[in-house]
């Protein structure tokens, strides 16, 4: 604890509560309350009912949840692979003289692009690019997965790049000195050492993809409706309480997945 006196500690907690509760906690609590209610006209909702949840884990809603999960897992895995590959390639380029360093900067900038560009624009770009042969993805689930991949690869690349930079070259050299070829070094030394960061990146990608709405809205086909889209269309049509229940389900699913990933992380951390 950085604050030592008792009053100081209380002040710190009070300040935290004043900031945290209205900004972060309250909106979530309201959604949770709404998801259990039938009507909310006064200060407090009426209810409680679990009917919205019963509906949320059946039929169209369940379909949307699986759609979101499949999209997020697929996009995260592809993004992680591509992002790690690019991060390692970038590091190799960066060690190869002035031209290599220039090439690395270009590569980094390219991968950062989807972060800088609004996701609506990314969605539109993907839509325009893949609505024509030879690559006709429009109307399939793949266009959604592709857009999510493009969006989250940036984050995967960035966080893995940061970890690659911190990776001490002495391990790589020690391995090479012991007779390990580069591929063996990658598999047995570099990737294991990067595992905690890969895990963190995977969690980040997954969470981002689970919540992605703006690009998805421009792209999703009728048979591939992710959960955020369903929440949006339901609440848009006035079904506020059903939407709330769906939102809580989305939140819970994402948090559960992140928790699972972070368990792997604590197991793999060695320092």
């Amino acid at each position: 604890m950085l604050v030592h006196s008792r009053t100081g500690r209380w002040t710190a907690w009070a300040g935290f509560a004043v900031l945290f509760v209205p900004l972060f906690a309250l909106p979530f609590l309201v959604i949770v309350a709404a998801s259990f209610s039938t009507n909310w006209s006064g200060a407090f909702p009426s209810g409680p009912t679990t009917a919205h949840y019963a509906a949320a884990v059946r039929g169209e809603s369940l379909q949307a949840l699986t759609t979101s999960l499949v999209t997020a897992v697929t996009a995260s895995l592809i993004a992680l692979t591509a992002g790690t590959w690019a991060a390692l390639a970038g590091a190799a380029l960066g060690g190869g003289g002035p031209w290599g360093r220039r090439a690395k900067r270009v590569l980094d900038a390219l991968f950062m692009l989807p972060v800088a560009v609004p996701s609506v624009v990314v969605g539109l770009a993907v839509l325009v690019a893949y609505s024509q042969p030879p690559v006709l993805l429009n109307g399939t689930r793949w266009i959604v997965i592709l857009a999510h991949t493009v969006l989250v690869t940036a984050f995967a690349h960035q966080s893995v790049s940061a970890a690659v930079v911190r990776l001490d070259p002495m391990y790589e050299q020690a391995a090479a000195g012991l007779g390990a070829r580069p591929s063996y070094v990658l598999l047995r030394v570099k990737l294991p050492l990067l595992l905690p960061s890969l895990n963190a990146a995977a969690g980040l990608c997954f969470a981002l993809s689970m919540g992605e709405l703006s690009a998805t809205m421009m792209l999703y086909p009728p048979d591939w409706t992710p959960l955020p889209v369903l929440i949006f269309t339901r609440t848009d049509r006035g079904a506020l309480f059903t939407g709330s229940a769906l939102a809580v389900v989305l939140m819970a699913a994402t948090l559960l997945a992140l928790l699972a990933v972070s368990r792997i992380r604590t197991k793999a951390s060695y320092r």
Binding site: D168, Q173, A176, G177, A180, Y184, Y270
Partner: protein
């Protein structure tokens, strides 16, 4: 295949700065050579050139009879231990030691035996299941050595392997290394250090480096008793370097005629090298009169700094009952056979 390392006019440069200048050095099979020199003199660079982590701009590196200059590190078959140990943190001790064997596709049934042997040799068998973070510095050090030895290299490169250990542990490890060397008589060892005690203890020969160049190379006794350059004399054993004049009649310091064999020294300016512990207090041959300007008590000896004719002479004197007084006039002496005449160097920074 014969082992041994040969540097053949090896030069290394980083961005136009030469950090290793035409190094010629041979480590014979089974020999221990210590690369000794101050920080930044290019010792690590020389080692990295053997290991293959840095590419010489010119010259060749040979291991055994094989020119390895262009080979990548993983094809050189050397064992290397660096200052920070670089044990793989995600692997247990035994997996660390087995790493090189697995990487070289040693038959699976041979690996456990070789790992056990290497751990036995370094006294770490009891720690096989630990992670590196669960070991002390000295234990990590042993594991790093075991890992390097497990691949049975013909060439072992050690880069300041003891510098992270405290003084007591260091002298213990030094004895261990000497024992390992006796147990592995075929392995050529190149041992980088800036600690002269390590070099003197362990090495068959010492190669003294300074400013990217090899300054001197010889057996410890040679370098200690008969240094060839001023740099060697002062770096190994911290000798007194006195500017003297050589004439046909003899050798003079500060106008005083000295009883020193001029040998084949050419007339003119020269440098006289005398070890501090060979300088005595009181009257004797080659008496030098001066004033004490500094006294350091070093446990078993007093180090006196005595100003003689504008030069500071260091003398390590044993068993003084009373601490000599600063500013008092004293006489120092040294035996004629304990002095070595050197060609005068350009630098006089003492």
């Amino acid at each position: 295949m014969t082992s041994g390392i040969r540097f053949d006019a090896v030069s290394v440069a980083y961005g136009g700065t030469t950090v290793l200048d035409r190094l010629d050095l041979t480590v014979e099979p089974g020999e221990v050579i210590a690369l000794l020199g101050p920080s930044g003199s290019g010792k690590t660079t020389a080692l990295r050139a053997v290991a293959g982590f840095v590419r010489p701009v010119s010259g060749r590196v040979l291991i055994g009879d094989r020119d390895v200059t262009a080979l990548p590190p993983y094809r050189r078959g050397i064992g290397m231990v660096v200052q920070q140990y670089a044990l793989f943190p995600h692997l247990r001790v035994e997996a660390n030691v087995a790493f090189g064997l697995k990487a070289r596709k040693t038959p699976k049934d041979e690996i456990p035996g070789r790992v056990a042997e290497a751990l036995e040799m370094t006294g770490m068998a009891a720690y096989a299941h630990r992670y590196p973070r669960e070991l002390s510095g000295g234990q990590q050090q042993r594991v790093a050595i075991a890992r390097a030895l497990a691949i049975r290299p013909k060439v072992l490169l050690l880069d300041e392997p003891l510098s992270a250990l405290d003084a007591q542990l260091r002298s213990g490890m030094l004895a261990e290394l000497a024992r390992l060397h006796r147990e592995l008589p075929d392995v050529s060892i190149l041992y980088v250090t800036h600690d002269q005690v390590e070099a003197l203890t362990l090495a068959d020969r010492i190669a003294v480096m300074d400013k990217a160049r090899l300054q001197d190379c010889g057996t410890p006794q040679d370098l200690y008793r008969r240094p060839r350059t001023e740099f060697t004399a002062s770096f190994v054993g911290n000798a007194n370097l006195l500017p003297v004049t050589v004439t046909a009649d003899g050798v003079a310091f500060d106008g005083t005629e000295l009883n020193v064999a001029p040998g084949d020294a050419t007339p003119g300016a020269a440098t006289l090298c005398v070890r501090p512990h060979l300088v005595g207090l009181g009257e004797g041959p080659n008496a030098l009169r001066g004033r004490i300007v500094e006294v350091q008590w070093r446990g078993s000896t007093h180090r006196l700094y005595v100003e003689v004719g504008g030069h500071r002479v260091k003398a390590d004197v044993r068993e003084l009952r009373e601490t000599p007084l600063l500013g008092s006039e004293v006489t120092l002496h040294f035996a004629p056979e304990d002095a070595v005449l050197l060609a005068a160097g350009v630098n006089d920074d003492h």
